[in-house]
Symmetry: C2
Subunit: 245 residues, 2 copies
DNA sequence: GATCGGTGACGAACACCGTTCTACTCCGGA
DNA sequence: TCCGGAGTAGAACGGTGTTCGTCACCGATC
């Protein structure tokens, strides 16, 4: 059983897939035949170690000791690979049984898990922005969030749009954090390397920036985790007014 | 007076720039010498017409009737160009005089303006994710938002993190909208082209997606503007509890 | 006006990218 | 055993950002 990459992708979006062929073809000369799972696992390893930018078809193929064109027997294209990665990653998020008493904490928990997955693979969240809304793996996550929100008494329309907002924010936050962490690798001294340096530059701002100068401390304090927790809480707090429990 | 691109970039981040050289060099054979403003204006035109992905150094150079290497006399690299574009774009946002009575509407207004700028140049917001936090043009925007939040009685620490959240959300939202709008240009039928198609697929989901199936209508309704307004309001509502007025 | 050195313009080339096309080998079914 | 389909792999296509070297032009200085 070996569906083509196009068929696999169609199945993920509940489209007709056509007949599935039996495996045939060379792999005898290879110690390990290339499979889509092997490609995905290898891709994750590269991203985890070197960031999403390091993930190229050539890099992937080299790591697998083959040529880049061999990958196209298993994935439609790079974008398809992105979708596989994001889907796999979303599948790792454990969805709690919705509880009306703790729905807010449950929301925070799911978002935090997703954040952790994205940060484990630096930069990968940029692939999530292009994801189509009908992939079964990512829909599972949305389904879980929807269940939690409904259990909390949030009206369906509000819940639907809140999912959109939360997921987008997690994407954006993790992308920014990943890009900022990548920055110190550059030897260019233009960029910021420390909070002290930012404070120095804020202090040197002209008088047209009075608030920034006065509150430089607050503007520069807080870890990425602090900011993430703040924002998710902010959104959840904003939902409380519309919840009926 | 002609600072090098490296010097211009340093100035934007309040770093030492060194001596500025007098303009010298050929332009006699060209009807119009290349300047950084010309590069930026040309880049905006390309992005506005064809999206951010169409903006390559080669495309830009061809449009300017030169070779790509000529651009590097005026911009440090592509990333520098990104920064110039984002800075220019942020500079177009009109910042209101903070008003304690209408601070919430003012917040929504600034975010909406920024959204509009980003959507005018489809996909450009992805360049904003990599922006360093010390660019003077983008700091002006943060300064304006900070003024509004403080006028509304939001504590400085909350205000600082709220700016982070709002700006990130605007980036993410506009990027997603831009990518989704780009999708119909593809002739691949795997992707969604209409709400009806999404509804069809939601209806076809297995029983493990009960909430999604039941609330398919709410999940698929709402324009990008609706969703944007909802989320900004959600965050602003979340801030009300911490505001003292 | 002549000279000089710095700057801007530009082509060639580098090192990379995603993907397609073609040829070949291997596999499983008949 | 034969055949056709599937998988592997190299060559090549069309593209990317950037550097390097060369040349022409410009402005400051003498």
């Amino acid at each position: 059983m070996s569906p083509t990459p196009q068929q696999r992708r169609a199945a993920r979006h509940q489209l007709a897939t056509g007949p599935v062929a039996t495996r045939r073809g060379p792999a005898g000369a290879r110690k390990k035949p290339i499979t889509v799972d092997l490609i995905v696992d290898t891709a994750f390893a590269i991203v985890a170690a070197e960031g999403y930018d390091a993930l190229t078809m050539r890099r992937l193929a080299t790591t697998l000791e083959t040529g880049p064109s061999s990958l196209y027997a298993h994935v439609v294209n790079k974008e398809d690979l992105d979708e596989l990665l994001i889907g796999r990653l979303c599948a790792r998020v454990a969805l709690p049984e919705p509880d009306p008493a703790t729905w807010r904490d449950q929301l925070v928990d799911v978002c935090t898990q997703l954040r952790e997955q994205y940060l484990r693979y630096p930069g990968i969240s940029q692939a999530a922005f292009a994801a189509a809304p009908t992939n079964l793996d990512t829909l599972r996550l949305a389904e879980g969030l929807l269940g939690i929100l409904l259990a909390g008494g949030v009206p369906p329309q509000t819940a639907a749009w809140a999912i959109d907002a939360l997921v987008l924010y997690v994407n954006a936050h993790t992308l920014e954090v990943s890009l900022a962490r990548r920055r110190p690798a550059r030897d260019d001294d233009t960029w910021v390397v420390s909070r002290d340096e930012v404070l120095r530059r804020f202090a040197a701002l002209p008088e047209t920036y009075p608030h920034t100068k006065r509150h430089a401390d607050e503007l520069t304090t807080g870890t990425p985790e602090d900011r993430f927790a703040f924002t998710v809480r902010l959104m959840v707090d904003g939902l409380v007014g519309s919840a009926q429990g």
